[in-house]
């Protein structure tokens, strides 16, 4: 922050540039039309239900089983991504090796590859006759058409989040701090766990939360590989779809409201984490 803005009076009219009213007006109008009003329809439609109806719809055994699977698998997938994401970010920032640029670009593949394509491709790999599946099936390991498939699809789609949140922070970690730690007699593991890791923790948590939030809502890649057995490998978004296909609009709306609330909580959490990260990096510089 330059000294000029720092000492400027707080009530100074900051709106020197033109176009404030029109751009803000358009932003709010477009946001309301596309996002807020349709989302509010979800809330209003749920209000038509009695409390008992709502409660029955969102706590039916099959729905509860789907919550457990969706949230459990998303959490596990985000954990796996936190570990491998940190490792990948570390390798990409700290080491030079052949093909590094390509690996760096490929990390974003799950963002760019349509989910349906990812779904059928992972299924083709892991099914009993697939490239990987054919070696695992004789060993009794089945990765497709069950809960394992859900987990693998969710790991795939959440992969870039941790790498992309941790990478820039790791690039900014001051070498001097590590050198100082080493000079003071810290082992390499101590330097990592006591000096580097605390700096990365907010970014790592943010990436974890983003991967988790994305995984909760994921539909396209999972349905091909999950097998979609009720009570076993049926995810919550699929419950909404099947209720819609049976014209059970009330039920679909109620379950969707639960998903929307989960999304809101995650969004607030991620915002909080990002603010924490900014205050951390602001304090250190």
């Amino acid at each position: 922050m330059s000294s000029l803005t720092l000492f400027a009076p707080r009530h100074q009219p900051a709106r020197v540039l033109p176009g404030f009213e029109i751009t803000l007006g358009f932003t709010i109008a477009y946001l309301s039309l596309i996002v807020l009003i349709p989302l509010s329809a979800l809330v209003f439609k749920t209000l038509n239900l009695t409390w008992e109806q709502f409660w029955q719809a969102v706590t039916a055994p099959r729905v509860v089983a789907s919550y457990k699977l969706t949230f459990g698998a998303s959490f596990t997938a985000a954990l796996v991504n936190a570990f491998f994401g940190l490792l990948l970010a570390w390798v990409l920032v700290r080491y030079q090796f052949f093909g590094k640029k390509i690996v760096d670009a490929l990390v974003d593949l799950p963002f760019a590859l349509p989910t349906a394509v990812a779904g059928i491709s992972l299924t083709a790999l892991l099914a009993g006759n697939g490239w990987i599946g054919q070696y695992l099936e004789p060993l009794g390991i089945q990765l497709a058409f069950n809960r394992n498939g859900v987990l693998i699809a969710l790991i795939f789609i959440g992969l870039p989040f941790v790498v992309r949140t941790v990478q820039p922070i790791l690039e900014d970690v001051e070498k001097e701090l590590e050198e100082a730690a080493t000079c003071l007699g810290a082992t390499r593991w101590q330097t990592f766990s006591r000096v580097i890791f605390p700096t990365l923790a907010p970014a790592l948590l943010t990436g974890f939360a983003m991967a988790f939030a994305r995984a909760i809502g994921e539909y396209g890649s999972v349905i091909f590989i999950a097998g979609n057995m009720p009570m076993v490998s049926e995810i919550t978004p699929l419950i909404i779809i099947s209720k819609l296909e049976q014209y059970d609009y009330a039920g679909a709306t109620a379950v969707a409201l639960v998903m929307l609330c989960a999304a809101f909580v995650m969004l607030l959490l991620i915002n909080g984490l990002q603010a924490w990260q900014r205050s951390r990096s602001g304090a250190s510089s």
Binding site: L42, Y219, I240
Partner: protein, 278 residues
């Protein structure tokens, strides 16, 4: 250094298993019965109409979100106002909403049982299970992409150049075209290609509002699903390979844009030493 080698090794195996193999599988499966079968699958009328519909939806959705993204970024990055943090959060909201929920909300508004359902039916306008609904759902899921790219970029660049232009007598549009746009062009392009990739590849949200009428309301990802469920593996992967190709092109453009952006920022930093490089 054993540690270094182990870490690089683990990273490469992970990337190989989770990213390279799935990508390779798409193209291998598509070409399993040779080029002719691949070509036939793409020439088929239903596949062709799915490709055309995908492009049509993208051509409408991306420019809409482009205009929105630029407006939102201008308002949020260049001005201070109450509720700015809240507005920024709302812009991000569609990212965390499940695509299935995104589709459902439009059914609730425009569907037969929805708010405007009776009126639309009386006037014989179809939105749900027709192209307009699919466009809306696509706009929703790609809503934040461009704004998200531009807001931090424009915030980092500050207002000084625009203010200088204004003092020199430039109009608002002139400031935008001559001063702001050249500074944000790479970020803008980056946002557009990400938005485009997601718009072409969206599955869940579009699936809810599509109605799945072959040759009419099927986009490429939906067509992939139908073919796959009909055990037409080669045809499904042939259409999927086009989408995978799109993903690869997206990644290449993204890498180029990132490199250009870094160079632009470095140049800016060299011009004005006080400005912090972000």
């Amino acid at each position: 250094m054993w540690l270094r080698r182990t870490l690089i090794g683990i990273a490469l195996v992970f990337v190989g298993l989770f990213l390279v193999l799935p990508l390779a599988a798409v193209f291998t499966e598509a070409l399993r019965k040779g080029f002719d079968a691949f070509y036939e699958a793409l020439k088929e009328p239903d596949a062709w109409s799915a490709i055309k519909l995908t492009f049509l939806i993208t051509v409408i959705a991306v420019p809409l979100n482009l205009v929105f993204g630029v407006c939102a970024a201008w308002a949020i990055a260049k001005f201070e106002f109450r509720g700015k943090a809240f507005l920024t959060t709302l812009v991000d909201l569609p990212f965390s909403v499940s695509p299935v929920v995104a589709g459902l909300i439009y059914v609730l508004v425009f569907g037969a049982q929805g708010w405007f359902g009776p009126w639309l039916q009386a006037n014989d306008i179809k939105i749900i299970f027709a192209v307009p609904g699919m466009v809306l759902a696509t706009v929703f899921v790609t809503f934040p992409f461009i704004a998200r790219e531009l807001i931090p970029l424009m915030q980092a660049q500050g207002n000084e150049e625009e203010q200088a232009a204004m003092v020199l007598g430039a109009s608002g549009l002139q400031i935008f075209w001559r001063v702001t746009l050249p500074n944000i062009k790479w970020g803008l392009l980056y946002g557009v290609i990400l938005c485009n990739a997601r718009a072409m590849g969206e599955f869940g949200a579009v699936s809810v509002v599509s109605g799945h009428i072959r040759g009419q309301t099927n986009t490429m990802p939906l067509h992939v699903e139908i073919l796959y469920n009909e055990y037409q593996s080669v045809a499904a992967f042939a259409v999927a390979s086009l989408l995978a190709l799109l993903a690869l092109v997206t990644l290449v453009i993204k890498s180029v844009v990132e490199w250009k952006q870094q160079r632009l920022m470095a140049e800016l930093a060299a011009l004005s030493p006080e400005r912090p490089v972000v």
